[in-house]
């Protein structure tokens, strides 16, 4: 049984409960009173419109629209500006709920595979936890080559002027490709993260069993 079928079985028609138990800050969702301030405060919803802005996602969760919510590209439009959090009259930690739903959809393998911010988000975390510190050059290269080699070269060319400007200003170092900044105790970091994932998985599993 896939991870997705397992949770779908367990929570059946109670998607709200699933979100409450499996998503970071998910227990706040029921507090939403549908005022729409979050949607009206969101910079990317304002510029280009989310498929489902936060307020709508909250209602969809209550309505049990599991598939639509988890496969949506919406949550991945969050820029982490925290405008929704500070303006929400019910004090819902909306930014964190958006990240939480996105992470959950990603964990279940339901998030849109080629959504660029989903891709970048995973890339960033791997990049920074790999050595303990971000390697900015590898991070950018990884993103440009997301859709294959040819597209990668094209993307690189489009960014040439920006990259050159940064190199000249000594704010981008081409040597980072071979030897970047890193932590000394990388072993300790890996061990600590492995343990953290183990604990988190067992906590979520306990909720499933309970």
């Amino acid at each position: 049984m896939s991870a997705n079928t397992a949770v779908a079985e367990k929570y059946r028609n109670n998607f709200l409960k699933e979100i409450e138990e499996q998503v970071e800050m998910g227990d706040w969702v029921k507090m939403c009173m549908q005022c729409g301030v979050c949607s009206g405060s969101c910079p990317t919803n304002f510029q280009s419109a989310w498929e489902h802005p936060p307020q709508e996602l909250f209602m969809m969760i209550r309505a049990g629209k599991r598939e639509e919510v988890l496969t949506s590209s919406s949550m991945w439009n969050c820029t982490s500006c925290y405008n929704c959090i500070v303006r929400c009259p019910r004090k819902l930690p909306i930014t964190h709920i958006m990240h939480g739903i996105a992470e959950y959809a990603h964990r279940l393998g339901m998030a849109p595979k080629m959504q660029p911010t989903r891709f970048f988000s995973g890339l960033f975390w791997k990049n920074c936890t790999n050595t303990g510190r971000v390697n900015e050059l590898k991070l950018s290269m990884g993103l440009y080559f997301k859709d294959g080699f040819v597209q990668g070269i094209k993307n690189g060319m489009a960014m040439q002027a920006v990259a050159l400007g940064l190199v000249k200003a000594k704010r981008l170092n081409v040597m980072e490709l071979f030897s970047g900044h890193k932590c000394k105790d990388q072993k300790g970091i890996q061990a600590m993260l492995k343990k953290a994932y183990e604990i988190e998985r067992s906590r979520k599993a306990a909720k499933m069993a309970g």
Binding site: N77, S80, H106, A161
Partner: protein, 303 residues
Amino acid sequence: MAKHEYAFYPGCSSQKGASASNYLTSVEAMCKTLDVKLTEIPDWNCCGASIGYAEAGELPRHVMNARNFALSEQHLPGQEIVATCAACWLGARETRERLSHSDTLMADTREALKEAGLIINEMPNIRHMVEVLIEDLGFDEMKKYVVRPLEGVKIAGYVGCQTNRPFGVDGESFENPQYLDKMVEMVGAESIPEYEQKVTCCGGALAFSEPEKAQAQIKDIVESAYDHGAEMIVTPCPLCQANVEIYQGHVNKKYGTKFNIPVMYYSQLMVVAYGGDAKAAGLNGQVIKARRLEEIAAKPVKR
């Protein structure tokens, strides 16, 4: 002994050859003048930033920040942690808040930290450099060292998101924070309190992954600065600085604009006003050169 001492969390972008290396250069010069001693937390790691959320989960993300707390406690006991980067500050503060409010999360974090041979006993205070300047030193103290006021320079104070929300600086409003304008006035320049894009999001990580969305916002931020007659923009955040500065060429191509406005850090303005040269202020790190500041930095100091 220095007047003020802190455990310093510089963050990834401040490192040599990284995107905000000139921020660190100017902070070092600024702190020297103000007699603030920053001691780097040995072997500090990335905060995970807000964009790592797809794979970070809850506990792993907090454990990353907690490792820095533990290292700080071990090597620099009793010192508050100061971050210059908005994301580092936010990430660490969020972890501090979550761990302080949940015994389970705290216990789990301690268990994970053991794997790296580390332990936390006390939760450190997490401060942003601007909090240190405003709260621990104060505007009067900061102003004392101004020997080369930036007279006649009009500067748009762009606070951005993560230095302002969800925590922000005490006593400031989320919608219209004033401290950056006061800092601009403090160095003798002219502020633009009515600059209405001061807390608009620059697009954050979406500037990389979905540039067209971020660039629409960057356009608003820069356009408004020009509309108010600004000669340059100043910000406390490394990602705001980079996004608003380096994509102006792309915005120009897309929208037919002719933007070419320098984007500075508050610390760079202060170093120049304190009599430092262009190098100490990290002015060579600008992609869009701040000619006006370079000229001022070359002038003799009024003693």
